[in-house]
């Protein structure tokens, strides 16, 4: 089975977050999300309080995945940048490394060019960090879940899932 478990430790996430906030500041964008291609939210920065980031992450990953298939159908390997334009808010998505997507949500206070510029820079740096994470997890111990965690989860599920 393909084992591509993603483990992110604090030092790495701090690095990632500082990079993202630097990018936000430079691009003057509203918020940024870092999403796994599987649809998991890795981290986020900026004004995300009003957003349902869990659902957003799943949908953005889905959107990116379908675009990737479209790319294949037209003979392209992958579209590495995706842009949704709205009336007020716009979304810029760019590929980070092999498995993550950097999503920047911005409005008319900045321009697509600025966002692209900073997102490109940040993507390259983030990709480097992810490579380090990958190298680390290749040599490190694979993560697991303790028996107690699994048991407690089962107990909690019994409480919650009642007909």
């Amino acid at each position: 089975m393909a084992d591509d478990t993603l483990i992110i430790y604090e030092e790495e996430i701090n690095l990632i977050e500082s990079l993202m906030s630097k990018m936000l500041k430079g691009a003057e964008a509203r918020c940024a999300l870092l999403v796994d291609k599987d649809g998991h939210l890795i981290t986020r920065q900026g004004f995300t309080h009003s957003l349902d980031t869990t659902a957003l992450a799943a949908l953005l990953a889905g959107s990116f995945a379908s675009t990737r298939e479209i790319a294949r159908l037209v003979g392209e390997e992958e579209f590495s940048v995706l842009f949704h334009q709205g009336k007020k808010d716009h979304i810029h998505m760019s590929l980070v490394g092999e498995r993550s997507i950097l999503v920047v949500i911005f409005d008319d206070r900045t321009t697509i060019g600025m966002v692209r510029l900073y997102a490109k820079e940040a993507s390259a740096e983030l990709a480097r960090i992810f490579e380090q994470i990958k190298a680390k997890s290749a040599t490190g111990v694979k993560p697991g879940i303790s028996d107690e965690f699994a048991d407690m989860t089962q107990d909690k599920l019994d409480d919650i899932f009642q007909d």
């Binding site: 430790y9 977050e17 599987d38 680390k136 107690e148 909690k156």
Partner: protein
């Protein structure tokens, strides 16, 4: 692939409901959505056609709360069942942790079930997964309908590998939760066995049992995380967790942790600090004392700790509308260049003062101008000259 985020302290699993078209995958999710308490689940998102057939996927996030300091989250997806949508169906399977195969129990659907199961195998293989290793539960759905096949028959045709199964009627909810609980159990069991040694997640909990003093540790750790276990979609925790004591105690290197001396115990048993002795990792040993004291302090006041990072977060990035800096900047602009009646009157009075002062200056030190009293002040003071220019430009008297 169970995603474990040590910063936001989340364990996230992806479970996909697979099966032929109209077998009841979406109905399963709808039932779960309707029965699970609102603070436990997010919105059910359905990417469906106008006829309510799943086009891409349905998505239901479930957050069962914090367990041992980690928020357990499950993301339930369905796939479009129709053969036609194989391209999108395959995409949903990416990164799947467990599969519920929803089979239609009606005799005329048997072939579709078999075809879908084979399609599942093909699609999984494309991602490099092996169906035999994948946690899978079969759900024989629509048991309430008349004339359905017997379970023995279905088992024989669909389940030669002996996967666990449940009988269900998703519309009335029979067997829905049983199936879900079982698949989660299988997923977690698999995640357990994936860890070869005790890791951060497990060392934390494993530490609670063998060493008595760590028993006190659990509340210390759960205190800050409790504030993060807010009702669903809010899911703010990552920021909190990053600065929270529990996160700061994270091993910087997975290899450093061993089952015998989980680095987690140190910060939690702060009352009796015992740093290096038990800890094999120099990195951890160094990090521990400071992290430990932090953990006590912030655990006493979980509320502000939870809020302040959220507040400080935006400060680091550019302020959004409503921010002080922003509004201040906007106010200044019109005064300088587009004087409104009010502002212009203020400006005039300001200018009068300037003129007075400058004329006073002129008196003291007359300029080389041939027309004293008129032009000199304007010439001498660049500010007042500009004001005079705007004054003339906008016809302000």
């Amino acid at each position: 692939m169970v995603s474990i985020n040590y910063s936001s302290r989340e364990v996230c699993c992806k479970i996909v409901y697979y099966g032929p078209g109209l077998s009841g995958k979406t109905t399963n999710l709808q039932y779960v959505h309707s029965k699970v308490p609102g603070n436990t689940r997010g919105d059910l998102i359905s990417l469906a056609t106008e006829a309510d057939r799943t086009l891409y996927f349905d998505f239901l996030p479930i957050n069962i709360g914090t367990i041992n300091g980690f928020a357990a989250k499950f993301q339930l997806y369905t796939v479009p069942g129709q053969v036609y949508y194989n391209a999108t169906r395959k995409l949903v399977l990416r990164g799947v942790d467990g599969v519920v195969f929803v089979a239609d129990s009606q005799p005329d659907k048997l072939d579709e079930n078999i075809e879908s199961l084979m399609n599942l195998q093909e699609n999984l293989e494309e991602y490099g997964y092996n169906l035999d290793e994948m946690p899978l539960v079969i759900q024989y759905n629509k048991r309430d309908l008349p004339g359905v096949m017997s379970v023995a028959q279905l088992e024989e045709r669909l389940n030669p590998k002996g996967w666990p199964y449940y009988e269900a009627s998703a519309t009335i909810g029979n067997g829905v939760f049983d199936t879900l609980k079982l698949i989660i159990k299988l997923v977690l069991d698999r995640a357990k066995s994936a860890g070869t040694r005790s890791q951060p997640a497990s060392s934390e909990t494993a530490g609670a049992t063998p060493q008595p003093e760590v028993a006190a540790a659990t509340p210390v750790m759960s205190a800050p995380t409790a504030s993060t276990s807010r009702p669903y979609p809010t899911a703010e925790p990552e920021v909190t967790a990053t600065s929270s004591p529990s996160a700061s105690t994270e091993p910087s290197d997975p290899v450093a942790t061993t089952p015998a001396s989980p680095s987690y115990q140190e910060p939690s048993s702060v009352a009796a600090p015992k740093p290096e002795a038990a800890d094999p990792s120099p990195v951890d040993a160094q990090a521990t004392p400071s992290a430990a004291t932090e953990s006590v302090e912030s655990s006493k006041i979980p509320e502000p700790a939870a809020q302040s990072p959220d507040d400080s977060q935006p400060a680091s990035s550019r302020p959004f509308p409503g921010d002080r800096e922003e509004s201040g900047a906007k106010k200044i602009t019109p005064i300088a260049f587009t004087p409104t009646p009010k502002e212009s009157s203020a400006e005039v009075s300001y200018e009068k003062n300037v003129l007075k002062n400058s004329s006073a200056d002129t008196g003291a030190a007359p300029s080389g101008s041939s027309l004293p009293g008129m032009a000199p002040p304007l010439r001498r003071r660049s500010v007042s000259r500009k004001r005079g220019f705007f004054k003339r430009l906008f016809g302000i008297k």
